[in-house]
């Protein structure tokens, strides 16, 4: 029974991971791609870990540690990527740019530095 539940978790995790890959292919610009790559993989990884924990209850501590790592590193890294991408002026898909206003300010600040 626990194996079935665990497998279900792992399967749903892999669906998320797959959608992340699909998103990388389908999304229109760098930022949206980063976004799918982050959110969906975080979710996918979490689900896979949970599934594994059900399979092997004695690994729980290590798995928790891994999830923690993923939760910290995934957002931070994608944030850093997106931020520097924005700074470099990576082209964006058509649509409103919420950062446009902040951007000019930070540029001015950057010039001062």
């Amino acid at each position: 029974m626990s194996e079935l539940i665990g497998s279900l978790f792992i399967f749903s995790g892999s669906v998320f991971l797959f959608s992340a890959g699909l998103g990388l292919l389908r999304m229109p610009d760098a930022f949206t791609r980063i976004q799918t790559g982050t959110k969906a993989t975080t979710m996918g990884a979490t689900l896979v870990m949970i599934g594994l924990a059900i399979y092997h209850p004695d690994w729980i501590f290590k798995l928790l540690l891994i999830i923690y790592f993923v939760y910290v590193s995934n957002p931070i890294s994608s944030h850093a990527l997106a931020r520097s991408g924005h700074r470099l002026g990576t082209p964006m898909a058509p649509g409103p740019d919420a950062l446009a206003e902040i951007d000019t300010r930070s540029d001015a600040a950057g010039d001062k530095l």
């Binding site: 910290v72 590193s73 957002p75 931070i76 944030h79 850093a80 931020r83 520097s84 700074r87």
Partner: protein, 230 residues
């Protein structure tokens, strides 16, 4: 255009070659004698439970030495390759460092010590469990990379790092020579007490070599990362 067509043909033919390999491949059902002898020799003769580490550091130690040399050469030659060319303008402004922001900075505060600790753990437990000098060194370097991204104004002490990597390398070679003098041959680690299988202090000089490798690889990869910042 011609070239693209040819490229596709070449890739297709390579696919044929690879298919032949896969088609003829049969999954092994048992270890071959040489591999089996490693599996018994490593714990018994080297008191190293991690057979892969045993092979890497001892039986194929010459490969490892070569590998270290390769990394060493790369770390050194990047300095040569990335030195600004004569008469070249400074890199454009977009490439200059900028503040990575609050989030990354805080993330670094949390992660950096953890990564280093983990790296050290992987290095020193190389002979017991999955891991070893290269793997741990790479983790340490990843920590350094995070540090450099979070606080770009950090200046690595490359002089110190280069001294460290050289010294570690020389010590590695010296340990190898000690193997000739005290044990069965070059890179033979069995001149230090073997200890008990699975004990932290065991496996002769393997943990020592592993640690040297970890330090060396960590330092080298950090230098590599640092060089790419310029």
């Amino acid at each position: 255009m011609m070239q693209r067509v040819l490229s596709v043909i070449v890739i297709g033919l390579l696919a044929v070659v690879f298919t032949r390999i896969v088609g003829a491949y049969v999954q092994l059902d048992a270890l071959r004698p040489l591999a089996a002898s490693y599996v018994t020799l490593s714990p018994e003769s080297l008191t190293t439970p991690n057979v892969i580490t045993g092979i890497l550091i001892t039986y194929r130690g010459l490969d490892t030495l070569g590998e270290v040399a390769v990394l060493f050469m790369v770390a050194a030659s990047l300095g040569l390759l990335l030195k600004p060319l004569e008469g070249q303008p400074k890199p454009p402004k977009a490439f200059q460092r900028s503040d990575p922001g609050e989030i990354v900075h805080s993330g670094k505060q949390v992660m950096f010590p953890m990564i280093l600790t983990f790296g050290a753990y992987v290095i020193v437990n190389g002979h017991l469990s999955a891991g070893g000098g290269f793997q741990g060194g790479a983790i340490v370097a990843a920590g350094v990379m995070l540090l450099l991204i979070a606080t770009p104004e950090t200046r690595l002490n490359t002089t110190l790092l280069s001294i460290v990597e050289s010294t570690a390398g020389i010590l590695f070679v010296l340990l190898g020579i000690l193997g000739i003098v005290l044990a069965g041959g070059f890179l033979d680690p069995r001149f230090l007490p073997a200890g008990e299988l699975g004990g932290f202090i065991s496996a002769g000089a393997i943990p020592l070599i592993s640690a040297l490798l970890g330090i060396k690889v960590g330092a080298e990869l950090s230098v590599v990362i640092d060089k790419f910042r310029t």
